[in-house]
């Protein structure tokens, strides 16, 4: 450890100390951590809401809350988890920590804009919380804000959609910042084919953020205009079209799931080669498939609307395009698996979580084929099958990707290591709890249990009971994992060298924890990102 230079923890770079040094920082690492702390707090809040939903559903009829409360709880669970936790999780938190260093840069292209994005994020989050306690009560529309219901309901939807609007701008500006950084701030010699795949995935993500999020911004503003000014774009009583809203909403919100999943794929692409000690299989294919997902993923939005009443021709086209987007995801999975072939594998916690990602994402992706196929989608649309598919992809995918990223990169930034055995135990508990929680939901979904139901017919109870028990096991796993990480980063063993995993990307060539401007010497860009020959873990 280079003890001569100050790390970014001690050197704020803005002459301030204490909390103000953080709140006025333009350091990408501090901003990344500030995102992470808020995301963690909101993740726990969203998790508690999720547990409450599961507990309510353990039996038909009222268990712990009334129907209106239940509707606001699942709305909040969705809004918090999607807009405040998952979308910023890997890009804004881990991306900020890692992306500039992987490129050999001292910071992002627009550091102050980066801080402004964080303030927008905080502002949007606070406004979302305000919407709970003011006006006509917490929103009860579901995170999709479907019209005309979102126009009729007397709950505080107007404030909530403005919160989403602001959160959207935070996301747009982060995407813009990353794209510019990747184009302009690569160290000399850092050619496009040497960019680590994590940063590649953030590049593809950035374009979706910049191009798709404005549509969401406009859409939620239109809802606001409908509610406050009574414009009538979506209200059939005034000649409006409620299906237009669905198109506008999904033009953003389907690409948004790629904003959520692409960075996690990038994390896995970076982790697997390190622990297999072998170059990633098909670097260019993986990088290109990220761009393909971003592109094709922008053309499939209406597969959320096969039952909406749109034309059969539209169903044909969107079903076909949806299958097209399955291809690049499949390629990535095959390439990851092939990377393990003839490797020299050590199953450390980051790899374990990354493998968990591959399995859970595969289940989520394969069940997505049922949803992309028009005839089968009609039956399972808006049932628990979709709920389960979505959680396999987003929690099993992005969530486990985030956990993998935390176990992989965070020791570098805190300069301390967590207990690896506990991390593995936590993984197995999480993995079992996860499948127990979500797998039964596939079954009851196929049997016709609709989503967003406060009460249900008795034939679905068995699945709900297993699922609720699973949610408790999952919660135990999350708690063990988080406590282990937090203990590790505050009291754990100090890292002795720069490169605990023996990785070959630039962030592992700098001091631990990194100094304010990252590099203590010129970044060495001669090595390929997954060339481990001559690189060994620092014990």
């Amino acid at each position: 450890m280079s003890s001569n230079s100050l790390s970014f923890w001690e050197d704020s770079g803005n002459g301030r100390t204490g909390i103000m040094a953080w709140l006025t920082t333009t350091d990408h690492k501090r901003i990344g951590l500030m995102y992470m702390y808020v995301i963690l707090a909101m993740f726990i809040a969203g998790l508690c809401l999720g547990l409450a939903i599961r507990l309510e559903l353990i039996a038909p009829g009222r268990t712990i809350m009334d129907a209106q409360t239940y509707n606001t709880v699942f709305t909040l669970h969705g809004v918090i988890m999607i807009f405040i936790v998952v979308i910023p999780s890997i890009p804004a938190a881990i991306g900020n920590l890692v992306l500039p260093i992987q490129l050999g840069a001292e910071d992002v292209a627009f550091p102050r804009l980066n801080l402004f994005s964080w303030y927008l994020y905080i502002g949007g989050t606070l406004l979302a919380l305000v919407s709970l306690f003011t006006g006509g009560g917490a929103p009860d529309t579901g995170w999709t804000f479907y019209v005309p219901f979102s126009e009729f309901t007397t709950t505080n939807v107007s404030v909530a959609v403005i919160a989403v609007f602001i959160l959207g701008f935070s996301s747009i500006l982060t995407g813009l910042n990353f794209i510019t950084t990747i184009h302009r701030l690569r160290a000399p010699g850092m050619t496009w084919t040497k960019i680590p795949l994590f940063t590649w995935s953030l590049y593809a993500t950035g374009w979706i953020q910049v191009l798709a999020t404005p549509v969401l911004g406009i859409t939620v503003l239109l809802i606001f205009a409908e509610r406050v000014l009574g414009v009538g774009l979506f209200d059939p009583n005034k000649g409006g079209d409620p299906i237009l809203y669905q198109h506008l909403f999904w033009i953003y919100s389907h690409p948004a799931v790629y904003i959520m999943i692409l960075p996690a794929m990038g994390v896995v692409s970076d982790i697997i080669p390190v622990f297999a000690r072998k170059p990633i299989f098909g670097y260019k294919t993986i990088a290109f498939s990220s761009l393909m997902i971003a592109f094709a993923g922008s053309l499939v939005w209406a597969h959320h609307m096969f039952t909406s009443g749109m034309s059969d021709t539209a169903v044909l086209i969107f079903s076909l395009l949806t299958f097209v987007v399955a291809i690049p995801s499949a390629i990535k999975v095959f390439n990851w698996t092939a990377t393990l072939y003839k490797g020299s594998i050590t199953v450390d916690p980051p790899l374990l979580y990354a493998l968990g990602f591959i399995f859970l994402f595969s289940v989520g992706g394969l069940t997505g084929l049922i949803l992309g196929s028009a005839g089968t989608d009609i039956h399972v649309h808006d049932t628990y099958f979709v709920v389960s598919h979505f959680h396999y992809v987003i929690f099993g995918g992005t969530g486990f990707g985030m956990f993998a990223a935390a176990h992989y990169w965070l020791p570098k930034y805190y300069g301390r290591m967590y207990n690896k055995t506990v991390a593995k135990v936590a993984f197995y508990i999480l993995f079992i709890g996860f499948n127990l929680l979500y797998f039964p939901l596939f079954i009851i979904g196929l049997e016709g249990m609709p989503r967003r139901y406060y009460d249900y017919l008795p034939q679905y109870q068995e699945g709900h009971v297993i699922s609720t028990v699973g949610s408790w096991i999952l919660a135990v796993g999350v708690i063990i994992m988080l406590v282990n990480l937090i203990r590790g980063f505050t009291k754990g063993e100090e890292l002795k060298g720069r490169n605990p995993w023996g990785a070959a990307t630039l962030e592992w060539t700098i001091p631990t924890p990194p100094p304010l401007l990252n590099f203590d010497k010129e970044p060495d860009t001669s090595r390929k990102p997954y060339d481990f020959q001559g690189v060994t873990p620092d014990e």
């Binding site: 129907a67 509707n71 009860d140 479907y146 019209v147 005309p148 009729f152 309901t153 059939p236 009583n237 079209d241 000690r277 072998k278 170059p279 990633i280 299989f281 098909g282 260019k284 294919t285 909406s308 009443g309 169903v315 079903s319 076909l320 299958f323 097209v324 291809i327 499949a330 390629i331 999975v333 698996t337 092939a338 393990l340 072939y341 003839k342 490797g343 020299s344 594998i345 199953v347 591959i358 399995f359 595969s362 394969l366 084929l369 049922i370 196929s373 028009a374 005839g375 089968t376 009609i378 039956h379 649309h381 808006d382 016709g448 609709p450 989503r451 967003r452 406060y454 009460d455 017919l457």
Partner: protein, 402 residues
């Protein structure tokens, strides 16, 4: 049975089986191969990793093979979808109107119901729309689901098959009672369906026989509730064993069609024992007589006890989805004890107290947002299309709920 009729469900299920089957194989292979690699190429067993950066042939294979697989999946799915959309031309059509939070089905003869009754072994096409927000008509057993969109008409079709009952669930989130927006598809044998369709129509359309009896003033002398006025009660008159006096001689007759017809046209011929010969003869056509006797066959009792019609309307129009009849609070105030209750309400932002008079209740049905009872949301849709008769029946019903 016509093979095309069972097609849709089986085609969709074929797509399910194909996609699940292939997916399971892929998942199994990926998992098995990964676990094998983790074991075989662990650091212990394989200390020196190979340096492989890729393999063009392998990658081309696993680009092309998935393309073919998903192409096949798409095709099966599309075939299933087309079967779900192509309603046979001879389908029996029912109109369905969704509203928060109930379903209303209207049959070709104008009869309405809150459950979907359909004849067996018939293709059924349900025309769907909504009066408020988007709902979704979902019958899992028939693999059909379609949103009901206000201002728009969509449809589903299915083959009803054997007599049975299937759940209808609302699949598009529509507010606080979403999960209670349930109904049933009731498949009944064809002849039973026809009987139901026409018999129940009388509950809706005023019974023509009853209208005739009213027109001729019959109820002035004959009650429908069993009490005696001037003549014998119509209650249970059809088929009743009656002692009559014919030309001074007593005999027992059964009140069949012929007897009843004769008693209307020539009342003096047979006088029921204990009654005076007071009834004038009525000149009616054979058809009119048939209608009156049809009414007698129906029991001749009043349409039911007070409020029965209103109760049916409350059920059909979805009122009871939000207003309980037992005093419990759902979405709106309970109907129980509503009549003449003093209620705190808000009108135009001002709080006031009103008495739930008949006028107040009528106005609250037609324009619910004018007076909003404290503690409740102004979420009730306007029921301007209800006929005056229906509203009258509803109020009668509410007034019975003390």
């Amino acid at each position: 049975m016509d093979a095309t009729l069972v097609d849709a469900v089986s085609k969709v299920d074929t797509a399910f089986k194909f996609i699940f089957g292939v997916s399971f194989i892929i998942l199994f292979l990926i998992t098995a191969v990964t676990l094998y690699f983790l074991f075989r190429y662990s650091k212990k067993r394989n200390p020196v990793p190979a340096q492989i950066e890729g393999n063009l042939v392998a990658e081309i294979i696993w680009i092309i093979v998935p393309c073919i697989i998903v192409g096949a999946m798409f095709w099966y799915g599309w075939v299933g979808y087309k079967a779900l959309r192509e309603a046979p031309a001879n389908s029996y059509e029912v109109k369905c109107t969704a509203r928060m939070w109930s379903w209303k089905f209207e049959y070709p003869n104008g009869k309405t119901s809150d459950k979907l009754y359909v004849p067996a072994d018939t293709p059924i096409k349900v025309d769907l729309t909504s009066v408020d927000v988007i709902h979704s008509f979902y019958v899992a057993a028939f693999r059909v689901k379609m949103d009901t969109v206000p201002g728009m008409h969509t449809y589903v079709w299915f083959n009803s098959g054997e007599p049975a009952e299937y759940e209808i669930q609302c699949a598009e989130y529509c507010g606080v009672r979403h999960s209670y927006m349930l109904s049933k598809v009731v498949v009944v044998p064809k002849d039973e369906f026809d009987k139901w369709l026409n018999a129940s129509a009388s509950a809706e359309v005023p019974d023509e026989g009853e209208e005739l009896l009213k027109k001729h003033g019959c109820f002035d002398c004959h009650t429908t509730d069993g009490t005696e006025l001037v003549g014998p009660s119509f209650k249970g008159i059809y088929g009743r064993e009656t002692v009559v006096v014919e030309n001074g001689k007593e005999k027992t007759v059964k009140a069949d069609d012929a007897y009843l017809e004769k008693s209307i046209i020539e009342p003096a011929a047979d006088i029921v024992k204990g009654y005076e010969d007071m009834m004038p003869p009525f000149e009616l056509t054979k058809e009119e007589l048939g209608k009156i006797i049809g009414y007698f066959k129906g029991g001749g009792k009043p349409v039911a006890q007070p409020g029965a019609k209103g109760a049916e309307i409350a059920e059909r129009e979805g009122c009871t989805g939000c207003h309980s009849v037992d005093g419990s609070e759902l979405v709106g105030p309970s109907f129980k004890g509503l009549m003449d209750r003093k209620t705190a309400v808000t009108k135009d932002g001002k709080k006031m107290e009103v008495t739930a008079s008949v006028e107040y209740i009528i106005s609250s049905i037609k324009h619910p947002s004018e007076y909003v009872v404290d503690g409740f949301e102004p979420s009730m849709p306007e029921y301007e299309t209800l006929s005056d008769d229906d509203i009258k029946a509803l109020i009668e019903y509410i007034s019975t709920l003390k």
